[in-house]
């Protein structure tokens, strides 16, 4: 509630060594990993931080969806309200979540969320990168994400 409370550490950079386009960002929370994990992965709070309603099961191979923009119309202005398909790749409780997602208008990408305890706090590292070089759009993107999850 208190805005002054623990200024956020957001440390974003683009990995210069990465051959493919990779986005990477880190942030720290004044909470333990299990608290952060719960907020990250419970469907209700997941929908809140993603800014879109989520259907999501915390299980490798599970297929989920992100609904239309709900919370903030600015978030996903490119998506044209098209639902995003999400497939869970890896679940390591309170440590690591990996999923792929794509929509009819956006090429598939992989998202890796890693949690690490650091002196009573929790560091979250987020990596997002295209599933493959080049652009795959439309139905192909969806097919691609689903096929790769199979």
């Amino acid at each position: 509630m208190d805005d002054e409370h623990d200024a956020q550490d957001i440390d974003a950079d683009i990995d210069p060594a990465a051959d493919d386009t990779t986005y990477r960002v880190e942030t720290e929370f004044d909470a333990d990993p299990s608290t952060v994990w719960r907020v990250l992965t419970e469907p209700k709070s997941m929908g809140e931080w993603l800014g879109r309603p989520v259907e999501f099961t915390l299980e490798p191979g599970a297929e989920g969806t992100l609904g239309d923009d709900d919370v903030d119309a600015d978030i996903d202005r490119d998506s044209d309200d098209v639902a995003t398909v999400l497939v869970v790749e890896e679940v390591d409780d309170e440590r690591r979540l990996v999923f792929r997602w794509a929509s009819a208008t956006e090429a598939p990408t992989v998202v890796e969320l890693d949690l690490r305890p650091v002196g009573g706090r929790t560091r979250l590292t987020i990596v997002e990168r295209p599933l493959r070089p080049g652009h795959v759009a439309g139905a192909t993107a969806r097919a691609c994400v689903l096929a790769l999850a199979a």
Partner: protein
Amino acid sequence: MGAAASPAAALAALADPTRQQILELLSEHGPQSASALATRLPITRQAIAKQLRILTEAGLVQADRDGREVLFDLVAGGAADAASWLAATADRWQQRIDRLHRLVDG
């Protein structure tokens, strides 16, 4: 033409508001001459030509001759896509991280 595009060169080329505007205009209105771009931007044709050269060298833009005119266009699937994807992705994650902090710290 068609200098090999490296993400680093593309990002460096993008780190300029005028060049970003040029890319946006090319994306919205399609291939255009430097003179046509000059009518849409508050800088001289010469200044635009200079920025177009930087963008071309970075592999973001290509020049094609159409009769007497040289038209500039985005390089399809080029580093401009990668760089704009990175910018959009960064923007979205910043918003998501803000909301995560409100949920966890709040």
